[in-house]
């Protein structure tokens, strides 16, 4: 635990000593504002909910989360500091989890800073704040899933841009498999059982439940197992580099 905490603290510090953190936070807040109020037609809907806000998160995170996570391992490998880190008296798992948690906490902070939307909707009407809380939990888990996948792609390469693009593609795939045009297309070639299996990986369907205020254990298990799997794969990839 101690090693995880120290690594996590160092990574968080690294975000805030460079302009990256501030640029990210500002862009994230501007974009959430734009999508919620302009593109999401928050006011015109005439309903006291944050569906205009949460509905955009899978798309917003698609670009922003890989940008936060692409650095994690690619930069360590490029700079050679991975050698320093992994020859410390710690296990690779502690480093993987520490780094992941740091970025996840950073994303949590970005999410917390969207609190003015919650205030706005509470001033204007009487929303179901339980549903809003569930939406935040779902959004946080969604970000974690993208982030864990970005950790994995980041460990694959020493080039941050490659890590970014790979993770965008994987996350995009996880969004698209839930869309009807895509599932229809798949249905033409394969059996419906395959289509259902693939569609079950859609982050959007799992995220939808949270937006409605439902904390379904299946959705929770989905997100946590995605995170677990991606971090496990990260460990395998990192071990693979060293085994030669």
């Amino acid at each position: 635990m101690r090693a995880i905490r120290i690594i996590c603290a160092r990574e968080l510090e690294a975000y805030f000593t460079s302009p990256v953190a501030y640029v990210f936070l500002v862009i994230f807040l501007l974009l959430t504002g734009f999508f919620t109020f302009t593109a999401g037609a928050f006011f015109e809907r005439g309903e006291a909910s944050l569906s205009a806000f949460f509905g955009w998160h899978p798309w917003l995170y698609l670009v922003l989360v890989p940008a936060v996570g692409m650095r994690l391992w690619a930069e360590e490998r490029r700079a050679g500091t991975i050698e320093l880190l992994l020859t410390m008296p710690i296990t690779a798992w502690q480093a993987i989890i520490g780094k992941f948690l740091a970025s996840w906490l950073f994303l949590a902070l970005a999410l917390v800073l969207t609190f003015p939307v919650v205030l706005t909707v509470n001033v204007l009407g009487e929303p179901d704040n339980g549903a809003i809380a569930a939406g935040y939990v779902g959004s946080f888990l969604l970000a974690g899933t993208y982030l864990a996948l970005t950790c994995m792609t980041s460990a694959m390469t020493r080039n941050q841009v490659v890590a970014f693009i790979l993770s965008v593609v994987i996350c995009l795939f996880l969004i698209l498999v839930g869309f009807n045009p895509v599932t229809d297309l798949l249905g033409r070639w394969t059996s419906s059982a395959v289509v259902d299996t693939v569609a079950a990986f859609s982050v959007v369907t799992h995220f939808d439940g949270f937006q409605k205020g439902v904390l379904d254990s299946r959705d929770l298990i989905f997100f946590f197992s995605m995170i677990g799997f991606a971090l496990f794969a990260t460990g395998v990839i990192i071990r693979g580099h060293r085994a030669g």
Partner: protein
């Protein structure tokens, strides 16, 4: 402290390290020599647990690095090749981080950071970001990181690379000083460093040990060891050639002994010859073997191996 048995590391078809065995005890400084790409760094990475060996065993302080990596790594201070460190951190926060990772807290951490800063002459740059430092300072920052927990074993991969001559001198003195109480392995391809800092040296080439011994023992393998250079009126190569192989350097002759161990006898024989012939001697020196020459004769240049 360090025991290596039959260590092998392959990358694909390439055998980067091919059956190396050696040991380093406390109070010893082992110089690890070899051309670029000979397997020095790979060996060091296996000692520090970064690479798992393909076969063979490494134990540090009695702990098998593969089976009990955390206990082994605790004993080791490691300076990786190119002295990588986190560029966005200040020297102080970087050293604080490594001290924390080594399990030091509070006052102990502060003391450790202060001591490392002092040992590596970093006090002028403690609050500077590492990416703004000169190469020498970056290097010493990483060296300070290796020393932070006062480890019993030091593994230093090219510790003097990129330093200016004064800094090289300081680092060598530091290594010699540290070697009195620790087991130190350092790699280099600068041969004078072996004389300056090592108690023992190993030369490796293409993953195999080709020679080992004290610097003097290695030097004795040179064909120059014990050679005599003579500058004298009347001396001719013809007359000297009875004593050994003669080379003419514009008026000075170098006589190589037939066997390096015959050095002293050769000198006596030259003096006898000079007296008998009545040559007027301007200068006469007994040569010492050159590590350079031993190194070149034992290792293949990188281009030939490729």
């Amino acid at each position: 402290m360090i025991r290596i048995e039959n260590l092998v590391k392959t990358f694909g078809a390439k055998r980067a390290v091919d059956g190396i065995s050696f040991g380093v005890e406390r109070g010893e400084v082992l110089g690890f020599l070899g051309p670029n790409g000979s397997g020095k760094s790979t060996t060091m990475r296996m000692i520090t647990g970064f690479y798992p060996p393909t076969s063979g065993r490494v134990t540090v302080g009695g702990h098998d690095v593969a089976e009990n990596p955390i206990a082994a790594k605790r004993l080791i201070g490691y300076l990786p090749e190119n002295a990588a460190s986190y560029p966005d951190m200040t020297v102080e926060s970087f050293l604080g981080f490594t001290a924390a990772m080594r399990g030091l807290d509070g006052a102990a951490r502060k003391r450790a950071v202060g001591r490392a800063i002092e040992m590596c002459f970093l006090s002028a740059v403690v609050r500077q970001n590492i990416d703004t430092l000169s190469k020498g300072y970056k290097h010493r920052t990483c060296l300070a990181q290796a020393l932070i927990h006062d480890p019993e074993v030091l593994v230093l991969d090219e510790p003097t690379d990129g330093l200016d001559p004064n800094q090289k001198h300081e680092v060598r003195n530091l290594i010699r000083e540290l070697g009195k109480s620790k087991a130190v392995v350092f790699s280099t391809h600068i041969l004078e460093e072996v004389d300056a800092a090592c108690s023992r040296a190993i030369i490796i080439d293409r993953g195999k040990i080709v020679a080992q011994g004290t610097p003097n023992e290695l030097r004795a393998r040179s064909r120059l060891e014990g050679a005599v250079t003579l500058q004298a009126d009347g001396a001719t190569a013809e007359k000297l050639s009875a004593l050994g192989r003669v080379e003419d350097f514009a008026g000075a002759f170098r006589i190589d002994p037939r066997d390096p161990s015959h050095g002293p006898e050769l000198a006596a024989a030259v003096i006898e010859l000079v007296n008998r012939e009545g040559w007027k001697v301007h200068g006469m020196y007994s040569e010492r073997g050159e590590l350079d020459e031993v190194f070149r004769s034992l290792t293949q240049p990188d281009t030939a191996a490729a």
